[in-house]
């Protein structure tokens, strides 16, 4: 069996003796007999490192890693700079705990401060926290932070990712906020239905941008409508789009959230990703989770600390703004490295490449007779055709290509990124042409 206990059995027995204990049994004497496990755990025997690695490799090989991916819908296949992996493999940064002891955690704290700066730059917002679990929980937290004494209703567009809506629904099931969803019309938030849903009890309006169907929304107008009833405007954005598309701040958002996965994190069957959250200065004390601030030591030397901690669970307990403790710090580090590697120009180029490929592919599909439902879109779009989606997607799969996400029998949600070359797109189009 493998073990990470350094001491030999003999050494262990010595320690036991020096601790004044006669046996392991005595050491566990606090555990009453009636709850002691009488048998060995029913688990396989341990293994050597080589055996474990082989077994896990075998398990991994049962998955299909597609060579060409046209599926997004909340998880995106973008290029990850080599530097990201290199930094994340630094054992110190990887195996540090939450930076409670600031003096020996300046590296971690500074990386979070830089991450916060990056998120503020991308979103245009004033303040960012140090991350939450993912984009969906960021939405749940954002809705909760907008709640006020007389404002208990969250209005959410159905053009938001269904996984995000369902998560918000769970958070509202917990804290007993009222959740009202507004239907999408032609793959966009229905403005009339939205206005109807708004009233004085509305705490916030949540939309996604670009929305689940890839479309850009009339975000500024939605924001105005929210502010008209003194509700907060929450925008869930694809951070990758912000190289090219206006920032949430420019649309008037009070809170900007989203999933940071497109910024340097692998698909990894859904996680770990990270949720980013940024707000106006006025709302900063309602942000959940950790926040790093700049300060000085006794000699005036600049340093970083966890700050505004009185918001948090370990101090405020049942009155905390959230229960979050562990976040996704290492993923935030990845985002920090990613943003430094790309720079503004690189991010703009990547966003432009993704959008350009998507528009090219949409044009090609349209040429095959598909109806492109999304009109003003970024890098995702919906097509409709008489042809059964399953037939199309199976044909692609056979050739090692992951097609778009089937929404129903006739509609597919496609996604392109800088990873899809024209050649790859043309190949997919050829395959689709054959079955249509």
């Amino acid at each position: 069996m493998g073990t990470y206990v350094p001491d030999t059995r003999e050494e262990q027995l010595e320690l036991l003796k020096e601790a004044g204990l006669s046996s392991m049994d005595e050491m566990f004497s606090m555990v009453p007999d009636n709850v002691r496990l009488k048998e060995k755990l029913n688990l396989p025997d341990g293994m050597s490192e080589m055996e474990v690695l082989k077994e896990m490799e075998k398990t991994a090989s049962k998955n299909t890693a597609f060579r060409s991916i046209f599926r997004g819908a909340g998880a995106y296949n973008h290029y990850i700079p080599s530097m990201v992996e290199s930094v994340l493999s630094k054992e110190t940064l990887q195996t540090a705990y939450t930076p409670y002891q600031a003096e020996i955690s300046q590296g971690v704290l500074q990386s979070i401060f830089e991450y916060q700066t990056g998120i503020c730059e991308l979103t245009g917002m004033d303040v960012s926290n140090a991350s939450v679990y993912d984009g969906a929980t960021a939405a749940g937290e954002a809705v909760a932070m907008c709640r006020e004494r007389k404002k208990n209703k969250a209005v959410v567009s159905e053009a938001v990712d269904p996984g995000v809506i369902e998560t918000v629904r769970t958070y509202c099931y917990g804290n007993e906020m009222e959740l009202v969803t507004v239907p999408a019309k032609d793959c966009r938030t229905d403005m009339d239905a939205l206005k109807e849903a708004l009233d004085d009890s509305t705490a916030c309006v949540l939309i996604q941008h670009p929305n689940y169907y890839g479309n850009l929304e009339d975000a500024a107008k939605i924001g105005e409508a929210a502010h008209d009833v003194k509700a907060k405007f929450i925008m869930s954005v694809n951070p990758f789009s912000l190289g090219l598309i206006k920032s949430p701040a420019e649309y008037g958002a009070d809170v900007a959230i989203g999933d940071g996965q497109p910024l340097g994190l692998p698909l990894a069957f859904g996680g770990p990703y990270l949720g980013f959250m940024a707000s106006t200065d006025a709302m900063k004390r309602k942000l959940p989770g950790r926040i790093v601030g700049q300060t000085v030591d006794g000699e005036g030397k600049k340093g970083y600390v966890l700050t505004l901690q009185a918001r948090e669970q370990h101090i405020r307990r049942e009155k905390a703004s959230s229960n979050i403790c562990s976040n996704q710090a290492l993923c935030a580090l990845a985002v920090g490295v990613y943003l430094s590697s790309m720079g503004s120009e690189g991010l703009k180029q990547a966003a432009s490449l993704s959008a350009s490929k998507a528009h090219y592919m949409a044009g090609e599909l349209s040429g095959l007779g598909f109806k492109v439902i999304s009109d003003d879109f970024f890098n995702e779009f919906v097509t409709e055709s008489d042809k059964d989606t399953a037939v199309i997607l199976e044909a692609l799969e056979e050739k090692g290509i992951l097609g778009g996400l089937p929404l129903d029998k006739n509609r597919i949600l496609w996604c392109c990124t800088e990873m899809n070359s024209k050649e790859d797109i043309d190949e997919a189009i050829e395959i689709i042409k054959e079955v249509c």
Binding site: R285, L308, Q309, A310, I315, R316, K319
Partner: protein, 126 residues
């Protein structure tokens, strides 16, 4: 430790200046000292109702949050906005750094005089 004779005091360490049916409320010098460096203060809004012996605000130090109780029942007519940006004023001069003013005071808790409060604080320290 300062105990101003023109003010009334409560067992939960607030001071009150009651003029007619209007009360000005803050925390005592002893309280600010016990709380340590205050970094933020959460206050109610103008127009909010406050109730005697119930929490109306809280003050944050770096590692703690403490509830502040209202010694009177009435309506908040003014809050000290300055404290939002400069909470250190509470540490610097607790009796000048009032939190809120309450009008239409209908009832108040049992007050102590400065002398009584000083004795109370001494007994608490023991």
């Amino acid at each position: 430790m300062e105990f101003r004779t023109d003010l009334s005091y409560t067992k939960t360490h607030e001071w009150v200046l009651l003029e007619g049916d209007t009360a000005t409320i803050g925390i005592t010098d002893y309280a600010q000292d016990a709380l340590g460096d205050i970094v933020f203060i959460n206050l109610p809004e103008e127009g909010d109702q406050v109730e005697m012996d119930t929490v109306f605000a809280d003050v944050e130090s770096v590692k703690a949050v403490s509830d502040i109780y209202s010694p009177v029942t009435g309506t908040v007519c003014e809050i000290n906005e300055e404290l939002m940006d400069s909470p250190e004023k509470i540490n610097e001069s607790a009796y000048d750094a009032w939190f809120i003013k309450v009008e239409g005071v209908t009832e108040h808790s049992d007050f102590m005089t400065a002398e009584e409060y000083e004795a109370f604080v001494e007994s608490e320290q023991e």
